[in-house]
Subunit: 314 residues, 4 copies
Amino acid sequence: MSQSAPHPVPIRYGFLGPAGTFTEAALLSVPGAQEAERLPYESVPAALDAVRRGEVAGAVVAFENSVEGAVPATLDDLSIEEPPLHIVREILLPVEFALMGRPDTKVEDIKTVASHPHAYPQCRKWLAEHLPDARWIAASSNADAARLVSEGVHDAALAGAFAAPFYHLTVLAKDIHDVGGAVTRFVMVVPPGPAPDRTGADKTSLAVVLRDNHPGALLEILEEFAVRGVDLTRIESRPTRSRLGTYWFSIDCEGHLEDERVGEALMGLRRVAAEVRYLGSYPRADERPVEVRPGTSDEEFDEAAAWLRGLRSR
Amino acid sequence: MSQSAPHPVPIRYGFLGPAGTFTEAALLSVPGAQEAERLPYESVPAALDAVRRGEVAGAVVAFENSVEGAVPATLDDLSIEEPPLHIVREILLPVEFALMGRPDTKVEDIKTVASHPHAYPQCRKWLAEHLPDARWIAASSNADAARLVSEGVHDAALAGAFAAPFYHLTVLAKDIHDVGGAVTRFVMVVPPGPAPDRTGADKTSLAVVLRDNHPGALLEILEEFAVRGVDLTRIESRPTRSRLGTYWFSIDCEGHLEDERVGEALMGLRRVAAEVRYLGSYPRADERPVEVRPGTSDEEFDEAAAWLRGLRSR
Amino acid sequence: MSQSAPHPVPIRYGFLGPAGTFTEAALLSVPGAQEAERLPYESVPAALDAVRRGEVAGAVVAFENSVEGAVPATLDDLSIEEPPLHIVREILLPVEFALMGRPDTKVEDIKTVASHPHAYPQCRKWLAEHLPDARWIAASSNADAARLVSEGVHDAALAGAFAAPFYHLTVLAKDIHDVGGAVTRFVMVVPPGPAPDRTGADKTSLAVVLRDNHPGALLEILEEFAVRGVDLTRIESRPTRSRLGTYWFSIDCEGHLEDERVGEALMGLRRVAAEVRYLGSYPRADERPVEVRPGTSDEEFDEAAAWLRGLRSR
Amino acid sequence: MSQSAPHPVPIRYGFLGPAGTFTEAALLSVPGAQEAERLPYESVPAALDAVRRGEVAGAVVAFENSVEGAVPATLDDLSIEEPPLHIVREILLPVEFALMGRPDTKVEDIKTVASHPHAYPQCRKWLAEHLPDARWIAASSNADAARLVSEGVHDAALAGAFAAPFYHLTVLAKDIHDVGGAVTRFVMVVPPGPAPDRTGADKTSLAVVLRDNHPGALLEILEEFAVRGVDLTRIESRPTRSRLGTYWFSIDCEGHLEDERVGEALMGLRRVAAEVRYLGSYPRADERPVEVRPGTSDEEFDEAAAWLRGLRSR
C-alpha cells in the first residue's frame, strides 16, 4: 500500500475529530500513524472527501457499532459517493468510557455531564447509579464534550480515557459501559489501489444493489456466495435514498479479492446484481484464519479450470 | 388492540421527546393521538421502558432511517430487552428540515445553527450554500436545539417545521434536505397482545439469533422464508453485544402472523434458529398488498393440510 | 396392515412369474408368504392389476436395479395408474445367477444358454470365459428359460439357483455375476390403507409432477425436502408419456408419513407441484435408522407449533 | 468431428442389432449413414466397445425410454466404463409397432406373437383386443422376433415397420402403441474429440458421483447448475454397483461446453463432486433454443471477468 511506504515528509491521515475521540485512538494504533500528521475532520463525509481530494493519504472512520454514530454515514458514503475508496485495514477498539473533569472537580459536585448522544445509552445505568442528580447534555462528539469541560461550560464529560490529557482533564472514573464487551470497528480508507497482500485471514467489503426487488432476490445474492463456499461476516440492508422499501446491501465476506472463490463470487454478483461496488480486501483484525470449505481452495479452482480447458481444447 | 379501546380517562402515549420532534409528529398521525396524553421521553429505551412499566399504553419511536439516531437503539431494545413488546403500526414521515429562529432573527445574522448530529449530514450542503459562515452546534435533539434557540443560546435550529410553534420560533427556510425523498419509518409499540387484524397488506417483524455461525447459517434462515414464498422487506445483521463478529438478525417480512405461510415460516425459524422473537404483525403504511406466490395462499395451505390428514387417517 | 391379519383361508399374493423367478424368491422372504397362496403374473402391470381388482392381497414386484427389467414398468404403473396402490415393504436380494441344466447335462456339451435379456449383461463376461462357444437365447423370464431347458428346447438356463428344483434342473455353476455386490430391490404393494408402523428406519415413496418446467423447478421441489431436513435416497426423472422432455419424478425419501418433517415436506410438495402421489411409508430393509437433523425432530416440530399457537392466541 | 470427415473407404457405424431394429432406423436418420457400413452388435456394451476399439467410427444406442431395454445399459456403460466416449448427436423416434407375418399369414390364424419383452407392455392392450387367443413369446430383440417369424418358428412379430422388408414379412397392422406419443431417444456415441459446434439449442450430458451421501448433497449439486442459470432436462439417480443406497447421477443440462455458464457449472461440479464425467455437448434434436436467464449470457460472463481483472490489476 502506498500509504505504508516511507515518506520524506510526514504522511498525513484524516480522522473523525476532534482530537481525543475514539477514532483518533484507532488511528494511533496504525503502524506509522504516531509519526504521521493527523488531521481531524468534523464529519465522516468530510474525512472521506479529504481522501478523495488527496488532502490526506487515508482516513480512519468508525464502521460498525454505534458509539460515535458514524456507521450509517460511513456505510452510505463508501457505498454510494464517487469516486470509490477502498478499505485497507480494520481496527477494533473496546468501548469503554471515562468520566473526566477539571483537576479540581470532585465527583460529588458534578451537576452536568456532556457526551455525544450515542455515548449516553452506553453509560445511562452507570450515571443513574453514580450521579443520579447530574443532568446529561449533548455534545457534537465526546472529545468536544471534554473541550467544553476544559472551558468550564460543563462539569464533566464522558469520553475515551485517552482524551483526558488532550484537554488537561482528570479521569474520575474508568471502564464505564452499561454493556460489557462492546467493541467498535474502525476502518482505514484510502484511494483505490492494490489490496493489501493476502494473509489467509482476510475480509472483503462490498455494496450490492439488487437488480429488482422480487421475492428471493436477496436469496439469489446469498447463493452466489454460498455456492462458492464464501461465508458472510456481516450483511445489512440499507434503504435506497430515493425510496423506502427498496434496499441495497452492505456486505462483508470472508476471504480476499485474490482468492479464486471470492473472485468467482464477485463475478456472479456482478452478473446478477444491478450494481456491485468492491470496497476492499484487508486482513481481519482478529487474525482468525478463514476456514476453506472442501472444494473451494485455490488449488481446487485451478484444477477444475485446467480440467475444463482440457475438455474444451480437444 | 387494547390501546385503541375507548377510555374514560385519556389514553397516554410515550414518544422520543422533547415536544416538537419528528417522533411526536409521527405520533400525532395515529388516530386518537391528538386527544391522548403524550409523554416525551429522553431516549428510546426510556420510552420503551415506560410501555413495559405500564406508564403509557404505547410509544412511538423511530425504527429505520437515521434522522433521529434512534434506529440501533430501537432495534436492540425491542429485540433483546425483557419483557418483549409488539409493534402494532408503522408510520412514514418525509425527512424535511426547517431552519427556524426567534421572530426577530434575520438569516444574514445567523452565526450558530444547532441540531441533533444526525440532522447535520442531511443539511450540510444546504448550510454550506446558504449559511457558509454559520457554525453548526450539536444538540441532544432537534427539538432541544429549538428550545435552546428560544432561550437565546443559539441563533437558529434545524428541526421539523412543526417544532417552531412549540418554541415560539419563526420558520426561516423550509424543505431543507440534501437528499430528496428521504423518509423515516416510525413504529408504535405496545405490550404483547393480539396483532391488528389482517389487511392483506401486512408486515411482520422478527429478531433471529443464529444457532451457530457456520457458513450458510444465514442462507438456511432465508430459505425458511423462501420455501414458503414469504418475501423479506428488510434484513440487518446486528452485532451480538458480547462479541463482535457474531450477529443476530433484525428482519421484516411480508405478511401477517395469521397467514399460514408466515406461520409455517415462523415455526421453521423457531426450529433452526437459536432464538426467534416475534415483534408483531401490522399493516404496511404504504398499503401495498402482498403478492401471494402460487402455492402459498391460505387456501392452498389448508388444502394440503387436509390432504395430509387424509393420508394419515386411512 | 390388513394383509398381515390372520385369515381363515390362505392369503393370496401375486408376483411377477413364472414360478422360480427372483421375484418369487423375494416374496418367499416375506413373513407368512410361505404358507400363502402365490399367484404368478406374466407382467408387472398384470400383477398390480390383480391387487387393484382384489384378486390378491398384495403383490411383490421388482422396483430398482434392472435384473428382471421390471423397474420402469413398476415405477410407471405405481405412479400413474388408477387407483393408487401403496408400498408396505421393501425386500433386497443379491443378484447372483446359477447356470442350470437337465440332470444329465455336462457343461462341455452346452450349445445354447437361455435367459431373460436383462440377465445377459450380468453374465456376459462369465459366459465368454466359461462357455465361449455357447449361443445365448432370449426368454421371457429366467424361470421360463429354465422351463424351456426342462422341456429340452435349450441346453442350459441362467436363473436364480432357487429356480432349479421347480424345473427339476441341476445347478452347474453358482454365484455368476459380472458385477459384484449387485442387489435388486423388490417391493410389496397393497391397496391403500394405514402405513406400517414407524420404526425410525423408514422410507417414503412418492411420484411428483412439476407444475411447469421452468429452470429451477426441480430445485424448488428438492428445497421442500431440504428445508425440513428430509434426505432423498433415490430420485429419477421419468419422461411424461405425452411428451419427451417433460418429466415427473420418482422419489424415495427418508422417514415416515407420520414424521412431522415428512408431513410438512409432503404438504409443501402438494402446494408447489402439479401433482403428488403418496406411494407408501415402510421400513427400510437395511434397518439403518434415519439421522434426524437438529431442528427437525417431532419434538421440535411440536414445540414450534405450540409456540406459534401461543403467539396467535394472545 | 472426425466421423463426419470424408473417407475414401465407407465410414462404419455400429448399432444395437440385429438389422431392422428401431436403433438401426435411428442410425439411418443420421446424415451419411445411408452410405456408411452399418454393423449390428448384440448388446449396447458390445456396440460401445466396438467404438472404443476403433472397429467403428461411432455407434447409435438407445438412451432414454425403455422400448429396447437399452437405457440402463447405455447410461451405465457411458458413465462408468473406460475409456470415456462422447455423445455427438441425439435422435428421437416415435415408438410405434407393426404386427408383421409371412406374406401368406392371415391375422385370424396367428397363434404366437414374438417380440422383445419391452415391446410387450406397449402392445398388451392392443393384443388383448385384436388377438385375444394368441400367445406372446419373448425374443432377444424385435428384429430377432421378425427373423424367427421369417424362419417359421413363430407366426407374427411386433417390431418397427421398417423391419418387415429386411425379413420379407408383410405388415398386418401398423401404429400399434398402447400409449400415444411415446418417443425413444437415441444417441450417436464417438471417441472423445471436439464437441459439435454450438447451435444455441444444445444439451450437455454428464455423470456425477457425489462426494458423500450427506443430506443435501444432491441439492448442492443442483445449486451448482442453478446459480449459473443452467437448467436440467433430465436427472436420474443410478445405484452405485458396489452398494445399493449409494448413487451417482446421470444428468442432461441445457447448453454447450463452450457456453460460459455451462463451463463454470462444470468447474463447480468438478470441485464439489467426487467425480464428474463429461459425456458430450450436442444439438438438441428438437432444435428448441435455450432460454438464457438474465445475467448468464456469455457477454455477461465476459464483462464480469473483465471487471474482476480490472479490480485485481490495480
